[in-house]
Symmetry: C2
Amino acid sequence: MCVFNPAATLFQGKRLLLIRVAEKAIAERGCIASPVLDLEAGEVRIHQFRLDDPKLNYTDPRFFTYKHQIYLTSLSHFRVATSEDGQHFSIGAEPVLYPETAYETYGIEDARITQLEGRYYINYSAVSERGVVTVLAETADFKSFQRRGIIFAPDNKDCALFPEKINGRYQVLHRPAVVHAGQASIWTASSENLLDWGHHRFVAGPRSAHWDCERIGAGSPPIKTSQGWLTFYHGCNHQSRYCLGLLLLDLEKPWQVIRRSRQPFFSPEASYECEGFMPEVVFHNGTIDLGQGQLEIYYGATDRVTCAARVSLDDLLASLES
Amino acid sequence: MCVFNPAATLFQGKRLLLIRVAEKAIAERGCIASPVLDLEAGEVRIHQFRLDDPKLNYTDPRFFTYKHQIYLTSLSHFRVATSEDGQHFSIGAEPVLYPETAYETYGIEDARITQLEGRYYINYSAVSERGVVTVLAETADFKSFQRRGIIFAPDNKDCALFPEKINGRYQVLHRPAVVHAGQASIWTASSENLLDWGHHRFVAGPRSAHWDCERIGAGSPPIKTSQGWLTFYHGCNHQSRYCLGLLLLDLEKPWQVIRRSRQPFFSPEASYECEGFMPEVVFHNGTIDLGQGQLEIYYGATDRVTCAARVSLDDLLASLES
């Protein structure tokens, strides 16, 4: 149905994407379908709901509710895509990570890859009827993955693990959910062992009357520069138009924002970014650093397709000068 | 304004409560007021809003919104109350813990006390415009307290720290917030050092068509029995009627529920539990174990007053047999 929101890294000299593949079940006539992992049966079960059932509430293409329980219209997993040139990709015939725990019955979504101390760490959003948690996994070869467990309780997504320790501790950006006061914002936490996290601090939130007034979340892992940690983030307005912005975070105190994009550095403009499953959405969680200050940005458009853009580190930093 | 939701412990042979005191600011004529800690000024500032301002939205006695930003109608802090008999209390003239950080500008609420390895650990909800986080503090004398930091990112409240390690790790019950799927439920996490938390697992959630169908959260720290960890929790229905129930959790795997109250063991019945600031609310976060299987339960009623009840451990465990 949709192939989008890839994590990205260089691996064995090639570009490697960990792409989110969303599969939709075929609905019976007059019905809407939801694919859900059935843990006992060990397979995905297709739930069918009649569209004329008054207990069904369906207003968003991504999900619906039935008797106040939420169901997704698709189930996501991850596949690997590799490329020599960043334009022509070979996509794996089989999933490399597929939902398999009680916390993943509605799917796994939006991975980030961080190369850290010679290993590849993956974090992703695991979705179930219990909420959205962040899972940490590890791989050496992008063929077999080891789940290390839930690192943030629900709801938490948009985690970006820094590629090195700061002040002797691992550091991450994360996006917890608020229901009482505040808005969906970027926080940071640190850890001694990558599994237990503490020292939570607020980093940045939405800005009223801006393009990022509704909610924000971190993109791919921050890139170290002499000026600070260059950090990609997505933000949306009250109409759910998603654009990309930048934060420059202090090298030693990454909860301190040195500079922030006034305007997005990247916005939906092309037809495939403006029209599709979720119109007017660009969402970015994968960057490849080609060296010499050249970056490739991989991103999802309208929650439907995977796209790429090239940009120089200098241009990004310069965009923060104003 | 209100004195409620106390934490409780035995200290130096006396009952000691850490009570939440909610102070309301005097509103100017035709206005509603919100007391907020002003960090730069180092004092509480009273914000006044005209009741006839169309940008004001005021439907709940606890809070209102102005231009989509939330404000509380009171600011809470903690005082110590001590008693020889559990009926006559001497209340401290001064706060022992008062809002003082950027995460506490809207107040500090609903403490729990856990005696662990010879120390007293306090956790509480810190509220600000950034959300509700859980803070861990420590004290030896209930006069001076040391804040140890935020242990759970927003929104998270209703944390109950177990009084001993389980499988070599500290263990806690917590209540994260969900906005996408699921309902407010009890989760557990564990830690090596009390500050960094991981290994999150779901414990129990609301039950449809029950008294606890809307949301649940843990009460005072679990009590070890030969049958399991006896765990108090509060739950409410869709009308926000709060009652108290029990979980019996596995001694070694505290995310496994052995038994659970079908009916509440305690419900609003007395006039001071049914009528008040928030009608039909009993909320419990303090238990004193008097020995010989006798417990004193301290609880808040209608978010307004502090009450006590006596019960035997055997009766509580027997209530779970059915």
